[in-house]
Amino acid sequence: MLEPASSSSGGAALLVALLLIPLVGAIVVAFLRDNDRLAKQVALGFSIVEFVVMVISWISYDPSGARMQQAFSVDWIPTLGVHLSFGIDGIALVMIAALALLVPVIIGAGWTDKLPADRSAGAFLSLILLQQAITVGAFAATDVFVFYVLFEVMLIPMYFLIGQYGGARRQYAAVKFFLYSFLGGMIMLASAIGAYVQAADTLGEGTFDWATLVQVVSNAPLENQIWIFLGFFLAFAVKAPLVPLHTWLPDAAAEAPITVSVILIGVLDKVGTFGFLRYLLPMTPDASKTLAPLVLIMGVAGVIYGALLATGQRDMKRLLAYVSIAHFGFIALGIFAFSAQSETGAVSYMLNHSISTGMLILVVGMVIARGGSSLIADYGGLAKITPALAGVFLVAGLASLSLPGTNSFISEFLVLVGSYGNEPVYTIIATVGMIFAALYILWLYQRIFHGPVRGNALVDVTGGPGTAIAPEVGARKAILDLSGREKLVLAPLLVLVLGIGFYPKPVLDVITPTVDATLSSVGISDGGN
């Protein structure tokens, strides 16, 4: 049934497996509604198999090979020139890898989470796996129509994940999330159709093939490019929230269950920055250059704005959302500074942000699971009770603020160095954001973990007889340090944070050729300066 495309370099079966394993897993797990334990085991099994296939796929990916590897293509709607075409390049590969890594981690992390009454783990995990399948498809699609379809369908599992399993204001958050993304998607549809019509005018028949559209649209007049650019950009800027289109993220992140937040911020939002690289730069190079200042202003504004608001947050989950907004601004800066270094930095930042922020969100989730509150003011001196948790929190936090030796450092450094040559002003402003990063992360750590044990979450104010360990206020609640399961879940992330921090070469090797190809399609081929 599957006819490998002529450009295929073999290995299409791997990509098919990457797409189908989570999908099949989602269907199987959906039938295990009555047995939560079995559902978790099966879902974990599928996600681990997916991870293994991803590792094989990574190994068999040839960085010096064709742009799209493991590609295949099947006719879907011939009347409209739509093919079910998939293939991966270096950027797609690292994003699929990040997702394949995070899904088993969050299934493990959420193993003992209590779901709302009447909700089964089977339905929840089925949605998670479905989300994974669709997101992998969005990263791997090489047909613009297919990408659009998956980009929109991606909203549905997340909508239910937030709306059914989230916090008190989950309805509001879910609808806001959906409407923002859907409006962006609708505008993008106009641009996708515009590109299709452009191809029909130029070639005589319409097509949605990515490579062909890149050819056609990149040679179109600047005015057409600008319209097409704006439609795609709006959708991507909502997804990878750039200020001022970001307001859905703090609500969604605050209301979604922790494990869902990891997927949402860690990978889903990267579809936006991924779209910048895969669709905006190659398809509309002239418009990208013309409108780069717009994106740069939005990016830098995001860095500063996200940092300021993160500093002022009282809720940990919202704080992390604003931290991510700052990071996304940074990625946008790297992408639209148009140098090989900044671009490579931005792409590796997409991966490293998934790892470090994913880890930070998980650790914050573990804190919240212990204290039962996400307000920072409800905590204090937690390090005395849970030293291991405090240690991991500190590592994740430092990775998030890009301390040298952690994975994010190399990315942030590349972005700053690469951007400075082309865009010194924006780069200097963005650097200020780094100072804030130290402030909000370390201050958060200090408030939660240091000082005397205090706060409603940790101390029972009414007091229990004979258990008053903390002298100044009531009885300390029974809080345990990291369990074996939690250590197991955090271990791979910890290893990657430090591993990539000291030896980023494997990641950069995969990314660089794709980044060079992307840049040369914008007309910059000197490999940076």
């Binding site: 709607i77 011939p78 009347t79 409209l80 009447d118 659009y148 379809v149 998956l150 929109e152 369908v153 549905i156 239910f160 709306g163 059914q164 989950r170 309805q171 879910a174 609808v175 959906f178 409407l179 859907f182 409006l183 609708m186 505008i187 549809l189 106009a190 159709i193 515009g194 299709y196 019509v197 029909a200 005018d201 319409g206 319209w227």
Partner: protein, 535 residues
């Protein structure tokens, strides 16, 4: 009829009987013939046998007409044919619309025939009994409470022939090649609908109000249509679309007649298609009519009306498109905005779907004014997709009930997913299709319409349409939020286990909505075959 011949005949010198291409119009003849037989059944069969006889007859007629249509299509001339002295054009679009209408009617008739969702059927036995009287209470609750079967309630089985008459009218309407035939078809399709709106078993007053409103406003619209027809006849000297097109292309006669006639004619057509700002009847009638009839109207009338609009615009008024296109842009925008924005404020689910249909009418109108072959085929596909989604949606609405009948207030839908996960899932899917989410037919429909519009330079309209889609998505989402994320009300409605008929209708709608979303190639190709036949 003699008036028709007189007007249609350009030279009254010699009367010759027109050639009739019977195979081409056989589907229409079967439907209208079966309707006449249905009236006889009503007159001669005893009461307890009528329901089964009518259901059998109606379904048989639909299937037979479908077979006749398929048979004719195997060797239909590629560029279509006209028959009955050129007054009916059986061409590609007409055949597609006929197929669509027959298939949609099948779904609607299945819902009409159901007697288990609402015991005894959704229709009152004797509509003339005044609401609130003892007799009315008796016929609502059943005259013989001892008998537990559905038959004890009795039901107005005349709805079946009325449905067939309306369907026959619709089929002629979208194949009519001259305005007078079109007008007669309009009346044939409208009159039964006015009647059927007033037949709801529950909420009799609301139902009668709906019927009266629909009738009065519909009569106005018919008058507009007729007035426009007369003016155009005065302008062109003929009621034939082709003759009007020729006259408009090269004529030194007063343009006032042309424009005034055109405007009035189009107003009449837009009314039937419930395009804003001529939509005022839609919410009230959708809400008050028995739900199976609402489904029939929402799906089939829309198809017929837009079939007529497409033909009139493409064949009769194409040469004057630069005069009316700007106005139609405005109408489409108004319709989309009214539908999307007022839909937000609705609290009754049937009214909400009504406003959704007004927004969809705006999208359809975009496709209809493109006039290119892509525009025509995309509008046809959209009609097919929208019709099935709507039928299934109303099928689901008819299932959610409490002691007073259908629970149409939105608040009553809260927490439905907990009690009936399957019904909630099906309705969610249909709402996503109405919103135009990919992998449903609604998305493909929007996609083809918007790409046709974009390639003929209507980019601003497309952007407005996309924004309107996003606004409209909010009220579809609200229902999903209610069903899934809210706690059920303690005395909330229960979901009736549907009988075989309603199950079949919903399944038909859902399956086609899914199929057209995933493998639309076949329907797209079919919609793209053939253009309007002129003579």
């Amino acid at each position: 009829m003699s008036a028709l011949l007189f007007l249609a005949q350009d030279s009254p010198a010699k009367e010759t009987l027109p050639q009739i291409n019977y195979p081409a119009i056989l589907p229409v003849l079967i439907i209208l013939g079966a309707a006449c037989v249905g009236v006889l059944v009503e007159a001669f069969l005893p009461k307890h046998q009528r329901w089964s006889a009518q259901v059998f007859l109606t379904l048989l007629a639909l299937v037979a007409a479908g077979v006749a249509l398929a048979f004719y299509m195997t060797d239909a001339p590629a560029d279509g044919a006209t028959t009955l002295a050129g007054s009916v054009a059986v061409d590609g679009p007409a055949l597609f619309l006929w197929g669509t209408l027959l298939a949609l009617s099948l779904g609607a008739v299945l819902m009409i025939a159901d007697r288990s969702v609402e015991p005894g059927g959704a229709f009152v036995a004797t509509a003339a009994i005044r609401p609130g009287t003892i007799q009315d209470r008796e016929q609502r609750l059943g005259a013989h409470p001892a008998r537990r079967d559905a038959a004890r309630f009795g039901m107005q089985t005349e709805v079946f022939p009325l449905t067939l008459f309306a369907l026959g009218g619709m089929m002629v309407f979208c194949a009519a090649n001259d305005l007078l035939t079109m007008f007669i078809a309009l009346e044939v399709l409208s009159l039964p609908l006015y009647l059927m709106c007033g037949l709801a078993r529950r909420r009799r007053l609301l139902s009668q109000e709906a019927a009266v409103k629909y009738f009065l406003l519909g009569a106005f619209a018919s008058a507009f249509f007729l007035y426009g027809l007369a003016l155009l006849y005065g302008y062109a000297g003929s009621v034939r679309l082709e003759a009007i097109a020729n006259a408009a292309a090269g004529s030194d006669r007063s343009d006032t007649l042309l424009f005034a006639g055109m405007a009035l004619l189009i107003v009449g057509l837009l009314f039937k298609g419930s395009v804003g700002p001529f939509h005022a009847w839609t919410p009230d009638v959708y809400q008050g009519a028995p739900t199976p009839i609402t489904a029939f109207m929402a799906a089939c009338t829309k198809v017929a009306a837009f079939g007529g609009i497409l033909r009139v615009l493409s064949v009769g008024l194409e040469s004057t498109q630069w005069e009316w296109r700007g106005v139609m842009w405005g109408v489409a925008i108004v319709s989309m905005i009214i539908g999307a924005v007022l839909g937000l404020t609705q609290t009754d689910i049937k009214r909400m779907i009504a406003y959704s249909s007004i927004a969809h009418a705006g999208f359809l109108l975009i496709g209809a004014i493109v006039l290119s072959p892509a525009g025509v085929s995309s509008t046809l596909f959209y009609l097919l997709a929208y019709g099935f989604t709507t039928i299934a949606a109303f099928g689901v609405i008819s299932l959610v009930r409490d002691a007073d009948g259908e629970a149409t207030h939105l608040s009553q839908w809260a927490g439905l997913a907990k009690r009936s996960p399957l019904v909630a899932a099906v309705f969610t899917f249909l709402l996503l299709a109405l919103a135009g989410i990919p992998l449903t037919s609604g998305f493909i429909g929007k996609f083809v319409v918007f790409s046709a519009a974009l390639s003929s330079g209507m980019a601003p309209l497309v952007v407005i349409a996309l924004v309107a889609s996003a606004i409209a998505a909010f009220f579809y989402l609200r229902v999903i939020v209610l069903m899934y994320f809210s706690e059920p009300a303690p005395d909330g409605p229960s979901v009736t286990v549907p009988g075989a008929f309603t199950t079949a209708a919903i399944t038909l709608g859902v399956v086609i909505t899914l199929l057209l979303g995933i493998v639309p190639a076949f329907a797209l190709d079919w919609a793209g075959t053939g253009t309007f036949a002129v003579r």
